[in-house]
Amino acid sequence: MLKKIFVLFLLTVTGVALWQSFRHAPFGENRVGDVENPETVSAFYLKHSPETLHTANSVTAIVVNFRGFDTLGEVTVLFLAATGLASILYRRKEDEEEEGGHLPVRVKLKSSTLVRTGAKILFPLILLLGIYVFVHGHLTPGGGFQGGAIIATGFLLMFITYKRFNVNHKIMVWLESLSGLAFVLIGLYGLVAYGSFLQNIPWTGRLNDLISGGLIPLIYIFIGIKVATELTNVLDTLMNTKPRKK
């Protein structure tokens, strides 16, 4: 009880401090400033996203180009989480023999025919939607992360509907490695050709064309593939952990 009071006290202090300090940044106030003569980063991005990069979605422009280095790190975080997860939940041969067989034990209840047929129809549609989202990442809301996550939910649907649905690990490893490498290589191309890592090519097309923004759509497609494979890997590893028998 004393602990709870102490915790509540601590939290209240933190909360009040936060509230007070965010009062200095009133809600809805325009802090971006003049876009034509940018003094803040946001104004600079809003100016150069359509003018220089010809990318309609300026969030995409920031994520992939202006702050692309963050995104490379972020993809790496996801990759490392998948690796860490695999190392934490790695199953040794002995464990598997002890627990009998190595078939994935995912769903104890058999799903109904309706669900299974529905999943079969939905799965390609979800994949298509995911691909659409990351291909149009520079034009409309969405992009590599969103598309990748959508594709992963498609695989999730298959995992929970079909007991024996398994992803092809060989293809996954190839896709995962190659898409990650492609991202790095595109970055290195910028370093070699224009002297700065991840620098975009000068040709950026016309605003709101499907092929515009220079390398941005290409990078976002690779990010999409990478994120989709990593998330599916995470789900696969977690789904295949077998509950302990009594």
Binding site: K108, K110, G142, F145, A152, L156, M239
Partner: protein
């Protein structure tokens, strides 16, 4: 007016869902509560003119996070006060066709 009412209702649902998922003893429902938090949050993001974030939160927060929580509950216990009961015996295993 209708929008501000809508927004306030959203805010109330958000907080209620968060409190529910902290207070609820049945962890499965608690996890569904966090799913609701994510769902309302993504509506919030949409209203705050952040469609990119809304889509991300919808795909990752609602679907993937919830499912990995459920997998974990399946591997541990479902009742918050019973730390070592096995949930798995509640389901009878069946063979796949």
């Amino acid at each position: 007016m209708i929008f501000i009412v809508f927004l306030v209702i959203m805010a109330v649902i958000l907080i209620a869902a968060a409190v529910y998922s902290v207070v609820q003893k049945d962890l499965l429902y608690a996890v569904l509560g966090t799913g609701v938090v994510s769902l309302v949050l993504s509506v919030f993001f949409y209203l705050l003119q952040a469609p990119d974030v809304a889509i991300t939160e919808a795909a990752i927060g609602i679907a993937l996070t919830t499912i990995i929580f459920i997998i974990t509950i399946r591997n541990t216990t479902r009742d918050e006060d019973k730390y070592s009961e096995d949930l798995i015996n509640r389901f009878k295993p069946e063979e796949d066709a």
